[in-house]
């Protein structure tokens, strides 16, 4: 009988992809919750790595009529010592359940692995980033060039040889320019020919051919084509994110945690838009220094508070390492709002003259203790200063946060508000 072997290995894989997406869409709320929960325990950069999440199966169940309880009869293998009429102790309840009804119960929680893209999509989904993303892209353009077909004029350096030669060939064929071997064949025949009339005939032919060759050039100026380029707006593919934080004694762990969450969101967002994102951590008391992430969040520090020091440090770093023409610059500052009164003037000038003009976006996040409600917080010295600047028309975004749960709404709000402001 005929047997067929089919090699399916090269068939497009992931036939289940669509079903998987449907499942994720259906479980969206649950998965989103799980994603947020799992992202709380992670470092900023790890957020992007995807990974395993656990969701409860509410609403994802597939109910069936199934029975439980009642008298049960079962036949088992492996009797060693029982005889008919023996009585066995009932195993405790949990054990008894496993062998009988079980199935539906074992699936109560459900673990599975999300890919990196799925994870980030879900993580940012309710931030309504798409609008924002377009806007950002439009803002961050610079000029680039790209190939755009061929032109009849241009610089000699841009001659497209292959295109020119192929056009010349087409023209020669179309105009029937005699080929070299045709001429050679005639010449050979002429050399061997003894018949006088035939010789004359051949000579005339040869003359005609040679004249034609002369008339029709091998390459004509009309054949020449130049590669054409046009300039296109091109997004700058790299961004730097400055994290500025007050680490003076008045900043509690809770406040730092709030700041960290905010930075994390900003990082994830930037990472989605730009190929390459650098992070610079600047912490300050009454002096500022650039540190690594771990020191930034956990390193001990003490001293007074001088916000301008951080701004000076940021400005220096921008000047030396991140040319605004090549980099999209984002900055987020977190502080409890304390600042030396004498520093206000310097801070204001630095911001208005040096920092804000080079930044795509500058956010100020005032973090408070958990117990305080944001609207109860009296306006701090820094808040008052920034508010004044904003009222003067500076592109500054600012929010107060005191609870973990507020970070997401605030983040979303910040970006939304900014776009609406600009529309006005």
């Amino acid at each position: 009988m005929v047997m067929h072997i089919v090699d399916r290995r090269l068939n497009p894989g992931s036939k289940s992809l669509e079903n998987r997406q449907r499942f994720l869409r259906r479980a969206k709320a649950l998965v989103q919750g799980a994603v947020k929960k799992s992202s709380q325990d992670r470092d900023i950069k790890d957020v992007l790595e995807g990974g395993e999440v656990t969701i409860p199966l509410d609403g994802m169940d597939e109910p069936r009529f199934r029975r439980e309880g009642g008298t049960r009869d079962m036949v088992l293998p492996g009797n060693k010592k029982f005889v008919e009429g023996d009585w066995l102790q009932r195993p405790n309840q949990s054990g008894a359940k496993g062998s009988g009804a079980g199935e539906g119960d074992s699936e109560d929680a459900f673990r599975f692995v999300l890919s990196r893209e799925e994870f980030v999509d879900l993580f940012l989904d309710d931030l309504e980033l798409p609008d924002l993303a377009k806007r950002k892209l439009a803002e961050t353009e610079s000029e680039g060039i790209r190939r755009a077909g061929y032109a009849t004029s241009g610089s000699p350096a841009n001659i497209s040889i292959s295109r020119t030669v192929s056009r010349a060939l087409a023209r020669r064929v179309a105009l029937r320019r005699p080929r070299k071997d045709e001429v050679e064949a005639l010449e050979a025949e002429l050399a061997e020919c003894d018949d006088e009339t035939r010789r004359r005939e051949l000579l005339a032919q040869l003359e005609a051919l040679k004249a034609k060759v002369k008339r029709i050039p091998f390459i004509d100026p009309i054949d020449i084509r130049y590669r054409r380029f046009e300039t296109v707006p091109k997004p700058v593919a790299q961004a730097v994110m400055f994290c500025l934080m007050d680490v003076s004694g008045s900043m509690s762990e809770h406040m730092k945690d709030l700041a960290k969450r905010f930075y994390m969101l900003l990082y994830v967002f930037l990472k989605r838009r730009y190929k390459h994102v650098e992070i610079v951590f600047i912490r300050h008391t009454d002096r500022a220094e650039e540190v690594d992430e771990d020191t930034f969040f956990h390193g001990p520090a003490s001293g007074g508070t001088l916000v301008s020091s951080a701004l000076v440090a940021m400005h220096d770093i921008v000047r030396t390492r991140f040319r605004p023409a090549d980099w999209n610059i984002y900055a987020a500052q977190a502080s409890d709002g304390d600042n030396m009164t004498s520093d206000s003037g310097v801070t204001g000038h630095l911001l208005t003259d040096k920092i804000l003009p080079v930044c795509q976006f500058f956010a100020y996040l005032e973090v408070g203790e958990a117990a305080n409600y944001t609207f109860d917080m009296p306006d701090s010295s820094l808040w008052t200063l920034y508010e004044r600047l904003r009222n003067e028309g500076q592109p500054l975004s600012m929010r107060k946060v005191s609870e973990r749960g507020e970070i997401f709404p605030v983040f979303q709000d910040l970006f939304k508000r900014r776009t609406s402001q600009e529309r006005v």
């Binding site: 079903n19 009529f65 049960r72 079962m74 066995l88 459900f110």
Partner: protein, 514 residues
């Protein structure tokens, strides 16, 4: 046999020529020695990832899209990645040609095993067992699935994915009660089915006339004349195929929704025989691969080393942990099925006096293959065990029967063991475990209150006091009510018609049937 003595392969590597050689060698043994009658074979080589894909669409090569398969896929992928679960060596599909999926990772020995097991063992069983003949249409299934997939995709475009999903969710919940358990007058022809569905749709479109909508309805006939008896007869009640009943009589379903229910119902019916023949099906396939592999080894076509490799995986497959073993999770259908087939071989060839007394029809008959083929064709698990589980095998497995009555304070009673008094009782109880009549809850549609609020009435006749799980039942009834569009009531009765529990569920506001 012409080519005997020549090695089919050496070592673990194989290519497509090897597969062809293996198939031909297996076929020779299968046909000439075992007398198997199979559908043409199609062997498809797939990767582990594709195997996972196949798992989540119930093993079928194509299937409609639904989130529940995605859920299953995510679940299986997670446990596979963690190493909790190995993948099957093969998947075989009851279709003509019979498609066997082989994993590319398998060694040549494993491929031989799998070809013998699936392409000949299962294949023969699919083609010859009466349940499969009666309930499935191997020629038409792939075309029908293609149609179902396309139809559901079109419905999603026309009516929105959410609506379609809701209907499918509801139909899936009732899938276990969407099969005909007794053969009716018609044989199944899925190709004609597909054509009819198309024609129905075309006819509806052709005769559509918006004018009809404006014609005032004629007055309904007086319903008083319709006695309850006659009404039930007209509706075909009682009806245990709930999906069929909905498809035919649910008052407010759209045409396409009825078609979706029909699709789910047909697919449930297609898989219905598989659930009833696990032991026999795997037993047959395992017995066939064992016979074929042993013969190939005997002929010198498989090296001793490769044969040992085969024996090792064979032993794993037919391993039966004892009840107090941590690995125990019920009878292993491969173990029980294979043991029974071998036992029958023994009874036919070299019976003892006990076997002659128990199995006068087959003991010492001599024609092992003939007897087995006859059994493979005409039994399902329940009747097979009831008929052919021998005392010798009950002793070998040391089977015993436990009776657990929650009302009994002394504990669980050992009702029968592997002794003279117990053989028949053990055998009867084990057979009952495989009886679909006992495995699925006995739920029927009994009446519709056509004069009143159109409430659909169902009845669950409990067996041995086992009632339905309340949470799940409410959810399933919710789906049912959404399809029916009016209230649904379910009554649980015991053997003496005493009411144990009553459920009433109303359809949700955003019901499936608009």
């Amino acid at each position: 046999m012409g080519s005997s003595g020549e090695l089919l392969f050496d070592g673990a590597d194989w290519d497509f020529q090897t597969l062809q050689r293996i198939h031909d060698a297996c076929e020779e043994v299968a046909r000439k020695e075992l007398g198997l009658d199979v559908y043409p074979n199609q062997i498809e080589v797939i990767t582990a990832e594709q195997m996972l894909d196949a798992y989540s669409s119930v093993g079928m090569p194509l299937f409609y899209k639904h989130w529940s398969f995605g859920k299953q896929f995510a679940f299986q992928e997670a446990s596979y990645r963690k190493g909790l679960m190995g993948l099957a060596y093969e998947i075989v599909i009851n279709s003509s040609p019979c498609i066997s999926y082989l994993m590319e990772e398998n060694t040549a020995t494993m491929q031989t095993l799998v070809i013998a097991h699936a392409a000949f063992g299962h294949n023969h069983f699919f083609k010859n067992n009466y349940l499969f003949k009666q309930w499935t249409d191997a020629e038409g299934i792939l075309d029908y699935l293609e149609f179902a997939k396309g139809y559901i995709a079109v419905c999603e475009d026309r009516h929105g994915r959410e609506t379609v999903e809701r209907t499918l969710d509801a139909a899936h919940a009732l899938m276990s009660h969407g099969v005909d358990r007794y053969p009716g007058k018609k044989t199944l022809d899925l190709r004609a089915e597909e054509k009819r569905a198309g024609e129905r749709r075309q006819h509806e479109e052709a005769v559509f006339n918006d004018l009809w909508r404006t014609v005032p309805n004629t007055k309904a006939k007086s319903k008083a004349t319709l006695t309850a008896e006659r009404r039930r007869a007209l509706l075909g009640l009682p009806q245990e195929n709930i999906l069929y009943f909905l498809e035919k009589t649910a008052p407010r379903l759209q045409g396409w929704q009825r078609e979706l229910i029909r699709i789910v119902r047909h697919i449930a019916q297609y898989f219905y025989p598989q659930g009833q023949t696990k032991v026999m099906n795997e037993g047959t396939a395992t017995y066939v691969h064992y016979r074929i592999m042993s013969r190939l080894h005997q002929q010198g076509r498989i090296t001793d080393g490769n044969f040992l490799e085969f024996l090792q995986s064979h032993t794993n497959v037919v391993f039966q942990p004892e009840f107090d073993d941590r690995r125990y999770s019920g009878f292993n259908p491969y173990a029980l099925g294979f043991a029974m087939m071998q036992d029958i071989e023994r009874i036919v060839k070299t019976p003892e006096d006990e076997d002659r007394a128990w199995f006068p029809d087959i003991a010492g008959k001599g024609d092992v293959e003939g007897v087995l083929r006859e059994i493979w064709s005409n039994y399902r698990d329940e009747s097979f065990i009831n008929q052919f589980l021998s005392p010798a095998l009950i002793r070998r497995f040391r089977m015993f029967h436990l009776h657990d009555d929650p009302a009994e304070s002394q504990g669980i009673k050992v009702d029968a063991i592997h002794d003279e008094r117990g053989y028949r009782r053990v055998r009867r109880e084990l057979a009952r475990q495989y009886d679909v009549g006992f495995v699925d809850a006995n739920i029927e549609v009994v009446d519709v209150d056509l004069d009143g609020d159109r409430r659909l009435m169902l009845r669950h006749t409990t067996v041995k006091g086992a009632q339905l799980n309340e949470t799940d039942t409410r959810r399933v009834l919710q789906h049912l009510a959404d399809l029916w569009s009016y209230d649904v009531a379910l009554t649980e009765l015991d053997g003496t018609d005493k009411v144990l529990k009553e459920y009433v569920v109303s359809p949700r506001a955003a019901a499936v049937a608009a």
